[in-house]
Symmetry: C2
DNA sequence: TTCCTAATTGAAAATCATTTTCAATTAGGC
DNA sequence: GCCTAATTGAAAATGATTTTCAATTAGGAA
């Protein structure tokens, strides 16, 4: 389900990127991330493994990872909420509105919908962008128990 | 298809907001907007009707309009791209990747998709967030003519 | 209409996230 | 181990958005 740490570091070097201590630390955090992560989040977590990490490097590394398709931006109503691990080439994210836990899902059969909108508007649709927000099982359980 | 100017000003005052010259100018621009608009875009256009308009007021007014559901944020891969008029209570946007022309569409029958994801993940899905990107008819035509 | 007041305004300052710059460090091919 | 281009972090720059605050104003009350 999650991005694999060593697969990612391999990908990085295959693309000519050096495997620095800083990049490893960032990849480590991203690969095991269970929620969407802002640059600051990643910075805070990765610094434990790599105290002399700079926020600048976090930004730079996240950009590389996004380019490689290992992470994807996640948005909510009020703006960009950060990045989430992306294992699937074409995946979408499902975010818990309470704890922000984030899951990737792949099947998104929207052909009919897309065809309909294309026919009606005359657009040629190139990409779609879908995000779901809801309550994760844990948060549902907690809410139920509280009553 | 578009948001109605006078309907919007009425809504504003019904919600206790004063109808200032500045707000009228912003609403005017938003109501007739054919593309997604950033605060700076709105500022530039609205200033023609209201030269002493301040950017601060544009931000404040856009926030109110978003609250009232008259506009909706639009995102692209690389971040928040601004606001688009939202006439439908539950609508989504279709954006031309070339000219940024933006159209709202309402039908989004995703029940099956949502049910499937919910069943698989255990999430209780509360909202979905869908955006389509493609080429608008005009841009398609131009591209075809160029060959 | 005129008055009054709370809401609204714009300029300037503050804030906040992100990007750029640049000199020092370092990964990894040789 | 050496060398060099890639990488790094601190600090400065940038750019968008928000806050502050004194002056203005819309619109209800008289
Ligand atoms: Mn999809
Ligand atoms: Mn929908
Ligand atoms: Zn949760
Ligand atoms: Zn177009």
């Amino acid at each position: 389900m999650n991005v694999d740490f060593s697969a990612l570091t391999t990908t990085l070097s295959q693309h000519g990127y050096k495997l620095t201590r800083q990049r490893r630390a960032v990849v480590e955090v991203v690969a095991h991330g269970q929620t969407r992560l802002s640059a600051a989040d990643v910075y805070a977590q990765a610094q434990r493994a790599c105290p002399d990490l700079g926020l600048t490097t976090v930004y730079r590394t996240l950009e590389i990872l996004a380019e490689l398709g290992a992470i994807r931006r996640v948005h909510l109503d009020d703006g960009c909420e950060g990045f989430a691990p992306a294992s699937a080439e074409h995946g979408h994210h499902l975010i818990c509105s309470n704890c922000k836990m984030t899951i990737e899902f792949e099947d998104c059969d929207m052909r009919k919908l897309l065809d309909r909108v294309a026919a009606r508007t005359g657009f040629k649709i190139e990409q779609h962008w879908l995000e779901l927000v809801g309550r994760c099982p844990k948060c549902l359980q907690k809410a139920a128990a509280r009553k």
